[in-house]
Symmetry: C2
Subunit: 308 residues, 2 copies
């Protein structure tokens, strides 16, 4: 086993790392690269834009370390483990795009690609708080809410690569908030960074820079910030209960920027979760904070680069 | 492949059948046998009661046909495919009870046991509307709501045999109805036979014999019956949407007594389902009525009898 390149493709930047066989990040690079901001109007042009942006970032990094294996987490739905992108909400022009193959040809590297949230689950199970658990539900609380599922040590992606749209579980059926997906009452509309900032602005009628500051305000006794962050935890607990009722998976890990508010989120989440579970599972579900900070996705990408 | 005995153990009766290798029911028997009504106070006594009741029903039937393989669907949570009953909500005294082994010793037959709702899913996939679908979510609408999941042709039972507690998905977070599980707002509190009868009695302030009569009243233009049955369909659609968001399974089959109200349930269900799905799955999910009437469970039991 050798070193591999791991890539985690986000909404506004591209993170790259050299990862050794023990899961240590040896070198890292973070680049601006907004894939969705482009003027192309055809699928062919959009494909070229995506490949150019990704290859432009990855090629110099990989060459510098002379590494020829790449694993990548990408925000989109994939057909199985083929690296064939079925679709991507942020890149609507791309349909059935052979992302891994095209990137492999361009970079002359072996390339494995998986959904970004599923990559984070794979990383957390391999190197983080999910170690030793054959079944794991991993939730990434960031700008949005992502989620990935491991069943019996196998990443689960569903029939269309669209499994674990946890962020769009409905936890408010009446007068729920509008979510980015077009539906109302999704947990993402209450417990993502975007949702916290929007709710703070609306309900507390103050401007705030980021979600981290809302947690800080809550800790300092700001009543409105405390209410919003507590509610985010409660809604997360309700949504996790729904997932557990279907999946009977009892280890849940949480990563992403908002996990910095664990001291506030976890007690609210845990209380609501136990309240909503079926009786024989009450008290049996562990919700653990990630041990990998925001590196779960990168380490999952490194894992799939090796697993081919 | 030979003929096998299939047993479907319900709340108030035991159904037995001889099933041929093509899934045809050759002979059938239905017996009264309420397992949960007994005066025992210890686990040992409860175990003896259950084995006596089951063996007393099955032995003469199996002897009559000289068959030595038994598959059984039983209402409880099992450890994997071992036939070891972890627990059963209706039989709280039983914990970690080697049901299959004990029954096998008593009957001198090869015995396979699985959760009853999962058996129905297995039967529907093997012989019914789920044929040819590697992934299937099957819902049984009866006195309560049961559900079983097949993923990649493998029955999925979760870490504790408690997966697919679909009936306890919460679809009313505010002022939801009390469910038998102790929580509020579960879909079972709106869309099971028990729920329909209770709601009809309460809301329409009329007595009614059974759920079937409520559907008949609805068809004849009874406004209140129409409202309740339509709402049952809507709530089912909402709950199915939640399951699909997590599982990305796009074939759902529905059996059980309430599927007799398909003409009313399905349009309401379908509308609400499509409304609540994430955009790329809207219109892509098929909800099909069982082709096996109330025999899905029996045919699933026959299938597991052969699969060992």
């Amino acid at each position: 086993m050798t070193h591999v390149i791991a890539a985690d493709i986000g909404g506004t930047n591209i993170r790259l790392a050299v990862v050794d066989p023990q899961g240590q990040i040896i070198a890292e690079s973070r680049l601006q690269g907004e894939l969705s901001r482009h003027a192309e109007t055809s699928q062919a042009a959009a494909e070229i834009h995506v490949i150019k942006t990704l290859a432009g970032a990855i090629k110099p990094f990989a060459s510098q370390y002379d590494i020829h294996e790449l694993g990548m987490g990408f925000p989109g739905f994939f057909h199985g483990r083929s690296g064939l992108l079925a679709s991507s909400p942020n890149l609507p022009l791309l349909q059935n795009f052979a992302l891994a193959d095209r990137l492999s040809d361009t970079l002359d590297m072996r390339v494995s690609v998986e959904n970004d949230a599923l990559c984070a689950a794979i990383g957390e199970q391999k190197y983080g708080a999910g170690q030793g658990h054959a079944n794991l539900l991993h939730i990434t609380l960031g700008t949005g809410i992502g989620s990935g599922l491991i069943l019996n040590n196998i990443p689960y992606s569903g029939e269309h690569g669209m499994a674990m749209e946890f962020g769009h579980l409905c936890i408010e059926h009446h007068e729920g908030r509008l979510c980015g997906c077009g539906n109302y009452g999704c947990v993402e509309a209450y417990a993502s960074a975007t949702a916290l900032i929007n709710r703070f602005t609306e309900i507390c009628q103050c401007e705030i820079a980021d979600a981290k500051s809302i947690f800080e305000q809550a800790r300092q006794g700001h009543t409105c910030a405390a209410k919003i962050t507590n509610e985010a935890g409660m809604y997360l607990g309700m949504a996790i209960a729904e997932a557990v009722k279907l999946l009977d998976v009892t280890t849940i890990t949480v990563s992403g920027g908002l996990s910095g508010g664990w001291d506030i989120l976890h007690p609210a989440l845990k209380h609501e979760l136990d309240d909503n579970l079926i009786p024989p599972l009450k008290g049996k579900v562990d919700v653990l904070r990630s041990r990998l900070d925001d590196n779960a996705g990168l380490l999952g990408a490194a894992t799939i680069a090796r697993d081919i």
